[in-house]
Symmetry: C2
Subunit: 325 residues, 2 copies
């Protein structure tokens, strides 16, 4: 990915050498550990790419770039407790490696550090950047709450599911781009269009995630195919199938999702057959395409970015939603 590759080495070096305090180690080691597990660093690299597209200085954009990465890892640390997840990026989650208290308090201090890092920006950027950050951070919490609520609710409207993935994962992509634009002194309209580009491509990205979990190649995806089905996760595929299937088939699907005791492969196969009967894969592909087009229409409206940079953002969008991993 040309768009993200440009600053990857620069960002990796910055995040790896971030001067976390050494003491108390119980507070800061979990933060350093989680950040050291790597990942694609999509959010900070989008922030740097956005700054670059508007001719800004990456030595300034590095602050919001670090802030969004630290915030993202804070949210992973706390979400992993809530989801009782054992693994993150193939390694032990923080609450597994340390303990729940460490994951709570270290997550808290990471959230505070995200603000501390933003405050290293030149003063004229404090107000706009912290306002963007606050809005995004609250929305991410709301998204996580909706996700948890959906787990225990009988019915979830597709509209609410789409709102949940928008808040839980997509607004952070949008805000990362917007912050990069703001500190490059882009005008507000352009920064908003880039936010909308990031947000909508993020929703498409999440629909792709749902698709991969059910239809991906295990070797490529690197996790068990059908995990969402086994965990009774109410994804777009499930919700759309419930809507489209006959009452009888829909009831069977709901019934299959009411237990975790079924023989795994039998359950996956039967659910996939019901998904096929409903034709939901096509609907998901179409919906993904709609969000992608909406994203591209916002990209198109950005005035302060040249055609070459726009084509890089467009390629990034393709990469994100056509990826097989």
């Amino acid at each position: 990915m040309e768009l993200l590759a440009a600053d990857k080495k620069y960002f990796d070096e910055k995040v790896e050498n971030y001067p976390w305090p050494t003491e108390p180690s119980g507070l800061f080691d979990p933060a350093k550990y989680l950040l050291s597990l790597g990942g694609k660093r999509i959010r900070p690299l989008l922030c740097l790419a956005s700054c670059n597209a508007f001719g800004g200085d990456r030595e300034i954009a590095i602050h919001p770039a670090l802030a969004v990465e630290v915030f993202h890892n804070f949210s992973l640390m706390h979400d992993d407790i809530m989801d009782a997840a054992d693994l993150r990026r193939g390694k032990a989650t923080v609450h597994q490696k340390y303990d729940v208290n460490a994951a709570i308090l270290s997550g808290d201090v990471m959230l505070i550090y995200a603000y501390k890092i933003l405050m290293q920006l030149p003063q004229q950027y404090h107000t706009p950047c912290i306002a963007i950050f606050n809005k995004m951070a609250e929305e991410v919490c709301i998204g996580q709450q909706m996700d948890m609520d959906f787990e225990v609710s009988d019915t979830v409207a597709i509209m609410d599911y789409l709102k949940m993935i928008e808040l839980k994962t997509s607004v952070l992509l949008g805000a990362s781009l917007q912050l990069g634009a703001i500190i490059a002194d882009a005008n507000e309209t352009d920064a908003n269009h880039l936010y909308q580009f990031g947000k909508n491509i993020g929703i498409a990205f999440q629909i792709q995630d749902d698709l991969l979990d059910t239809y991906g190649e295990q070797a490529a995806v690197g996790k068990i195919i059908g995990g969402d089905i086994l965990n009774n996760k109410k994804t777009y595929l499930y919700l759309k199938a419930c809507q489209l299937l006959s009452d009888k088939s829909s009831a069977e699907l709901v019934d299959l999702y009411s237990t975790k005791d079924a023989e795994p492969q039998t359950k996956i196969d039967r659910v996939k057959q019901l998904f096929k009967d409903a034709g939901v894969k096509i609907y998901a592909e179409e919906l993904k395409g709609e969000y992608k087009n909406l994203a591209l229409s916002h990209l198109d409206m950005v005035e302060g970015v040249n055609a070459k940079a726009k084509s890089q953002f467009s390629s990034f969008a393709d990469y994100l939603i056509q990826r097989s991993v």
Copy 2:
């Protein structure tokens, strides 16, 4: 308390009617619940009193006042999970009334709201207020981590214990006063002196807390006298006794603090006898007095506050550290 009484009704009305979103209720109800339990509201009232002493406008000071109260309750919500506490202000803690996940995520959103509320200040106050807030918030996390570390460490230096109470509880009192001064356009030196006043009186307050837990009147304090002893809490009294007692008596004290199975009253009585042998109560009273004097010397150096207001702050200091509850 004249100092705090002036704005109590004003603040209570503001905090009770704060416009939290109604949905998702799982995210915001725990925040509203904890804030509704009341408490003395010392921190926000100090913020308002400080603003008032410098002739500032309480309609502006209400923002940092609300922010410090929301932050304080965020930290209580998460600390109560970490300390496995069942009760807070005589009612169920959030993780007991709802669940641990609710207490984690609702706490997170409260921390974000503290920043959101600060951003409602006129723009010229954003940078100084958020900088003060960030420093304080990080220090509170460090204090909580030190407190947890002390629980499992064999030896704790008295200096480290005093640092812990400074960070965990006192810097928030200092920052509350400092924020009130800043938004009343006090000069930086005055704001710092008021911060030091609050911080040092906070340390004296915590030493008084330790004293009350061991020497208070149960009816007045409203909780079991000797709770710290039964929980093997390494307070100033314990640490000073270890330092002053003979090797043999010190070993006995350490031994008494190595179990939670002893018969409660027998253990309390024996530990109190050892405290008496060491004469630690006097040391604690003296140390408390030293911090109070240090606090008052900073109050004395404040230039932009008149004698009448200073005497109210001084009375507040007396109230805080001579209280029996």
